[in-house]
């Protein structure tokens, strides 16, 4: 960067001029990531950016399996959350999910693939447009995104495509939803296997009102699994669509979790 600035001062100033607000307003990255500014300038439009420890990004102490790295984001200490973007700076597909908890708590858990040691972050946007960011480095061996998924190796991915499992645990006010789909979530980075992934997940209540929705990218783990907390009781319809236009849907009944917890 220093070299470019020296040789091409005018070109650099043109680039900087393209996004004047961010170039000045972006806080220094506490994780020291080489990709912080690049991602920040692309993702954080519409408001100021702050690092905020009220956003909890919970990662395991070790990425034991770089194909399935659990990430939980809990931003329930913040009011007025409208979006949660989970991304890994050094992944070839950086963004994993872009979650909009409309009538749901600012809480989401899923599993992602990692292609190398990287920061994993959550960027939480509030209604005022501001972005609240937190995250941490996690070590990982290579190949999470560039090795074929297990179901491709076994060859049975199509036999179970879209099968959905899940349940709902209600406390009377809010309902915790856990669900997952059988899907290879191909990244497009494996030779001769084009990108093929679930790209949206929507949750609607019994009246058909949307309570939460999510954009999902190829860096989410094979057989993607999600945990959400919606501010509603009653049955919830979960519908996913993949990049081939296939739709997978199922209803999570409010009694399903209770049945599991009580061992029935």
């Amino acid at each position: 960067m220093r070299l470019i600035k020296t040789i091409l001062p005018s070109a650099a100033s043109v680039l900087l001029a393209a996004s004047p607000a961010l170039a000045e307003g972006l806080p220094a990255d506490p994780l020291g990531s080489p990709m912080w500014e690049y991602h920040a300038e692309k993702l954080f439009t519409g408001g100021p950016v702050v690092f905020d420890n009220r956003v909890k990004v919970i990662l395991p102490v070790i990425a034991e399996d770089q194909h399935v790295v659990p990430v939980t984001v809990d931003a329930r200490k913040l009011d007025g959350v409208k979006r949660i973007v989970v991304f890994a700076d050094l992944n070839p597909i950086p963004v994993a999910i872009d979650y909009r908890p409309m009538d749901a708590a600012p809480f989401v858990a899923t599993r992602i693939k990692l292609d190398q040691r990287t920061p994993v972050r959550a960027a939480v946007q509030l209604e005022d447009g501001s972005w609240h960011v937190a995250g941490d480095w996690i070590d990982a061996a290579g190949g999470g995104c560039s090795a074929p998924p297990l179901s491709r190796v076994r060859g049975d991915w199509a036999d179970h495509l879209g099968e959905m499992r899940g349940a709902a645990w209600s406390d009377g006010n809010s309902t915790r939803l856990r669900f997952g789909f059988r899907h290879p979530m191909d990244t497009g980075l494996v030779e001769n296997i084009p990108a093929y992934n679930i790209e949206t997940v929507r949750v609607t209540d019994a009246e058909g009102r949307e309570v939460a929705s999510m954009d999902v990218y190829g860096s989410v783990a094979e057989d993607p699994a999600f945990t959400l907390v919606v501010d509603r009781d009653g049955p919830m319809e979960v519908a996913a669509r993949d990049t081939s236009g296939l739709e997978f849907a199922g209803e999570l009944s409010p009694a399903s979790g209770k049945r599991l917890s009580s061992g029935q």
Binding site: I62, D136, I138, D139, G166
Partner: protein, 322 residues
């Protein structure tokens, strides 16, 4: 093991997370390996134990985390589990021959995991024996383990290649140089777990079926199978247990402790899935006070969540939709 200046990096390597503020380059700044300096402690007549570090595999410990056993016989020396790398295997070979005064004539590999098996290259492949399941496991996973270990251990791994055991061990009694041994072909920690009893001293070498004050690792585990293997070992009369990881056990605590941890882990994971927790939440479950002295408990618990959770979800969460 004496690791002096490297100990400041303890816990970084494989466990290298939570490093907010540290530039990534610093974590891997030290890429030159030191020299292994394994120490043998005589634990029974003609049997020495070489302690591994009760830690995760990390650059700081050179991967030397598993216990190695040296057994003297009239005809030569037996080594059980020669460690993680070629140079560790060589150090073990020199140590074994210096304490017994006789060349190594047999190497047993208790199971596939590289912290136990990758030192085999320091010996003539013809004397390296294991259960046939272990050879098959190494054929399948050896290269993957090798990549993973070279990544973390870098220069410590120099020259290390995957050496497949040439001799198949079968269960039963065998005599080597006057030493009467009983060999047990079990499984549960992996698909093939070898345990060895030295009849004269009553020393039971448990391999990774037995952990002691160090949390059990489960990357290839079948918990039900493991528990029944522990029942088998408990039924074998013995005075001492040399666990795969952790200190020697002369008080019959290591086998019950391993069983206790695995039973707790199994029911905790089932309960977590059934009560609607996700993986990071299950990984944060409080560890019971009775396990307070068990090293790397949180680390292994979170690894176990990774090993078992997706499978348990597929088994326990109901199918919904069409």
């Amino acid at each position: 093991m004496r690791l002096s200046r490297r100990t400041m990096f303890a816990g970084l390597g494989l466990a290298g997370v939570g490093l907010a503020g540290l530039a990534p380059a610093l974590v891997y700044a030290e890429q030159f390996a030191g020299t292994y300096n394994p120490q043998a402690e005589e634990v029974a007549d003609g049997i020495w134990m070489v302690r591994g570090a009760d830690e995760p595999i990390a650059f700081a410990n050179g991967g030397a985390i598993a216990n190695t056993v040296i057994i003297a016989t009239n005809d030569g020396t037996i080594v059980v589990d020669p460690g993680p790398s070629l140079s560790y295997g060589k150090a073990i070979r020199a140590l074994a021959e210096s304490v017994t005064g006789k060349p190594v004539i047999r190497v047993y590999i208790t199971h596939l995991h590289p912290d136990h098996s990758f030192g085999a290259g320091a010996f003539d492949a013809g004397i390296v024996h294991a259960l046939s399941a272990t050879r098959h496991d190494l054929e399948r996973d050896g290269e993957g383990f090798s990549d993973a270990l070279f990544r973390v251990l870098a220069d410590w791994m120099k020259g290390t290649t995957v050496v497949l055991p040439q001799g198949d061990v079968t269960a039963g009694k065998t005599v080597i140089g006057g030493r009467k041994l009983q060999l047990f072909a079990l499984g549960g920690h992996s698909s093939g777990d070898l345990a060895i009893l030295d009849e004269a001293t009553g020393t039971l070498i448990g391999g990774d079926l037995v952990f002691h004050d160090r949390a059990p690792a489960t990357p290839h585990a079948n918990i039900d199978g493991w528990l029944s293997a522990l029942d088998t070992l408990e039924g074998v009369p013995h005075k001492l247990v040399i666990p795969g990881h952790g200190p020697i056990d002369s008080g019959n605590v290591a086998i019950p402790q391993t069983r206790d941890w695995l039973s707790w882990l199994d029911s905790m994971l089932n309960e977590a899935v059934l009560s609607g927790m996700d993986m990071t939440e299950a990984g944060a479950t409080e560890i019971p006070a009775r396990f307070a002295n068990i090293k790397v408990a949180r680390y292994e618990l979170q690894r176990s969540v990774s090993h078992f959770y997706p499978g348990l979800e597929a088994e326990l969460l109901p199918m919904v939709g069409s």
